[in-house]
């Protein structure tokens, strides 16, 4: 590397934007606020682009030292950045999608009274997310990790006057804390054993180790704990419950944070730590199982949801499960690939959903939509593309990445046909509920002509005329179109394993070996690919059957399934279960033991008794202060006698 890339600019630009908007935004006009917000996020994107153009594969991994932070003995953690192919992809996704969503937000949030606050938070999120991505050590990464958690909390609770939003924010934060706890312990273990948090230093020490076959070992422990952290951030079983609730936030937030970027941080972290995971097969197995289960589980919930954003949320959880499944079978590049395509089409889905909600004046219930195709054609088209992409229909982006994952799940040394099977089932369900969403929303008749009772006034986008759904402004549509293009063609980078080769320097020769073995199994691969496409089409067909051709059928099926259907509608009662299992005992325990027991009886009483005791003792002791000089002298003499006696005793002892 001959010259510095000035990587530090990329995170700091959004920080500057956040600071400017946060400090001066309240007094500034909306135009000024959006200019600042867009400029700084756009500048970060532009700089990231220029970095991509300037850097060559030979220069990576590139490290940049900014300032020194913690130096304690042999341990050190600096403000230093790290750029390799993996973080480069993340960088592009975060700045690119982030910038598009910034643009979209200008239109979507225009009427909100706290417009400046939104952009300040959004820029702040960008800063932390970029810190997370570019960090060269786990500690700085953790700072970004916590920072995005903070930004997420702030944005979920953006309309904090609404109880559900505030509660959802808290829920997200607390659930994430549980995951962070695991992450932290993993970091402690790393420090204890490798005396560093620096990626290169840690991985250099781990790399020579043999895989832990006996099941449990240090690396397994670290891996599982890291996975716990990832579960929290990336909404995996059992910590996924916050993500559906997070839909209380503004839709661009859902798109940016809870679909495209932040929730994938767990995938990124696991991929980043692939050196550790590759040497801990048990941990990998845990990752794979969690990912697979989450994918299936969330997909089934998605079938029965009627809130458009909730469907997308469960879909996100499910897709994240896919990514973890990929990581779990050792196909990190496939996971990252899906991460990228998912960022495109899920971001697009959310934005399009936002556009729909915008169009119908804040309504989110799909049963009150329908037939919107003619009202909002652009939204319909982009959303259609996204749906095709997520369903995995050739040649859309989702096809390439999903197919890659399924193939790896089947063929990889850590994989198994079980993963593949569940993956295919999930793909079928995904295709079904996505088309269900599409059909319920855009086809049939419009059910919401008289939607005037929206209690979502606080959303701020009820300034438009109601009754007639209307197309969104261009500022919202342009990002939709760009993302639609990306969803269309974004998957082509994976053609002929191009994406995998790009990431080869990061994930190592294992990928190459698999690629070699791939040729031998190409027949199987074609077969599997065919199956997955077939499954996608059949899912779509089922949806068409149920929601277009015979719309009375779903109700019948639901009645027929009875309690099982109720369970699915109520998300398998997981929230209720958690409430019973954890929240209630915690609250009860806190009330009776911690509050009434420890705080009242122990702490308060200790303090009160200490104070009472001090007062009583003082009442007696104050007579020592008689005001008589000679008495004071007497005390001094007696005291010094004691001191002298003690000193002499020390001396002669």
């Amino acid at each position: 590397m001959t010259s510095s890339l000035n990587l530090w600019l990329i995170p700091t630009l959004p920080l500057a934007g956040a600071a400017i908007n946060g400090i001066f935004g309240k007094k500034s006009s909306r135009t000024a606020v959006s200019t600042v917000g867009l400029f700084f996020s756009g500048a970060a994107f532009a700089w990231a682009l220029s970095v991509v153009l300037r850097i060559s594969a030979a220069d990576m991994p590139y490290q940049e030292y900014i300032a020194h932070w913690i130096r304690s003995g042999s341990f050190s953690a600096d403000f230093a950045l790290y750029l390799d192919q993996l973080s480069l992809i993340m960088l592009m996704v975060v700045t690119g999608v982030g910038f598009l969503i910034h643009i979209y937000s200008v239109g979507y949030m225009w009427d909100d009274p706290s417009y400046y606050r939104f952009f300040a938070y959004l820029n702040l999120f960008m800063f932390f997310m970029l810190t997370l991505i570019l960090a060269n050590n786990y500690l700085l990464m953790f700072i970004g990790w916590e920072g995005v958690g903070l930004a997420s909390y702030l944005l979920i609770g953006f309309w904090f006057t609404k109880d559900s939003a505030a509660a959802a924010g808290k829920k997200a934060f607390i659930v994430n804390r549980i995951g962070d706890f695991g992450f932290l312990i993993a970091l402690f273990l790393i420090i204890q054993n490798y005396h560093s948090l620096n990626f290169t230093q840690v991985f250099d020490q781990v790399r020579p180790l043999a895989p832990e076959t006996a099941g449990a070992g240090l690396l397994t422990a670290i891996g599982i704990l890291l996975m716990v952290g990832a579960c929290g951030k990336s909404a995996q079983i059992p910590l996924y419950v916050w993500l559906p609730d997070a839909m209380e936030g503004p839709t661009p937030v859902s798109a940016l944070i809870h679909a495209a970027t932040m929730v994938t941080a767990g995938v990124y972290m696991v991929s980043r730590s692939h050196v550790i995971f590759e040497r801990a097969p048990s941990a990998l197995m845990v990752v794979a199982v969690i990912g697979t289960l989450t994918a299936l589980f969330a997909a089934t919930i998605g079938i029965a949801q009627t809130d458009i954003k909730k469907v997308l949320a469960y879909s996100t959880v499910s897709q994240l499960g896919y990514m973890f499944m990929a990581c779990g079978v050792g196909a990190f590049s496939a996971g990252v690939f899906h991460l990228m395509t998912h960022a495109f089409f899920k971001g697009l889905l959310f934005l399009a959903a936002g556009s729909v909600i915008h169009a119908v004046g804040g309504e989110q219930d799909m049963r009150k939509m329908g037939g919107l195709r003619s009202y909002i054609p652009w939204t319909f088209m982009t959303m259609g593309i996204a749906t095709l992409a997520i369903a995995g229909i050739w040649p859309f982006a989702g096809f390439w990445s999903k197919d890659e994952i399924l193939w790896k799940a089947y063929s990889s040394e850590h994989g198994s046909w079980v993963f593949w099977l569940i993956g295919v089932i999930t793909a079928f369900i995904t295709s079904f509920y996505m088309f269900r969403l599409l059909f319920m929303t855009f086809f049939g008749d419009y059910h919401g002509a008289n939607v005037d009772e929206h209690g979502r006034g606080s959303h701020g986008h009820d300034g438009h005329g109601h009754g007639e759904p209307h197309e969104s402004p261009m500022v919202m549509l342009v990002p939709l179109m760009i993302l639609a293009l990306l969803s269309l063609f974004g998957g082509l980078v994976g053609y002929h394993n191009g994406f995998e080769h790009f990431l080869e320097p990061v994930f190592g020769s294992g990928a190459t070996a698999e690629a070699a073995g791939e040729a031998a199994n190409s027949g199987t691969e074609w077969l599997l690919m065919g199956i997955s496409v077939l499954v996608a089409f059949s899912g779509a067909g089922l949806a068409w059957l149920l929601y277009i051709s015979k719309p009375y059928l779903p109700q019948k099926i639901a009645d027929g399934l009875g309690s099982f259907y109720q369970a699915v509608v109520n998300k398998y009662y997981v929230d209720e279960l958690y409430a019973k299992l954890f929240v209630k005992p915690l609250i009860d325990g806190s009330t009776t033991i911690l509050w009434q027991g420890i705080d009242r009886k122990v702490i308060d009483d200790t303090v009160n008794n200490a104070a009472d005791g001090a007062r009583h003792v003082s009442d007696e002791v104050r007579h020592m202060q008689s005001g008589n000089l000679r008495s004071y002298a007497g005390w001094i003499a007696a005291g010094s006698a004691v001191v002298i006696a003690y000193m002499i005793w020390l001396g002669v002892r």
């Binding site: 104050r622 007579h623 202060q625 008689s626 005001g627 008589n628 000089l629 000679r630 002298a633 007497g634 003499a637």
Partner: protein
Amino acid sequence: MVPLSYYLVLSGFLFACGVTGFLIKRNIITIFMSIELMLNGVNLSFVAFAAHWHALAGQIFVFFVMVVAAAESAVGLAIIIAVYRTRETLNVDQVNLLKL
């Protein structure tokens, strides 16, 4: 040739007399003089140690003690005058308003 301990015992005796004076004397001026007596006792041990260890610094300390004693007595006696002016007594047993 006098053993060091003789000087120290004398010094300690003077100091003890000073302490006793502080404890049993009622007149504030005498109490003040008891303090001076204590300082003198300490000074003696300083000088004795200076001679014993051949360290002149011990004598220097005595000068500082004297300077501080001079400052202290100047201020202290001024305070005594002020106290006498308001309380019209020199008996410390009767100057005991500063209490709880």
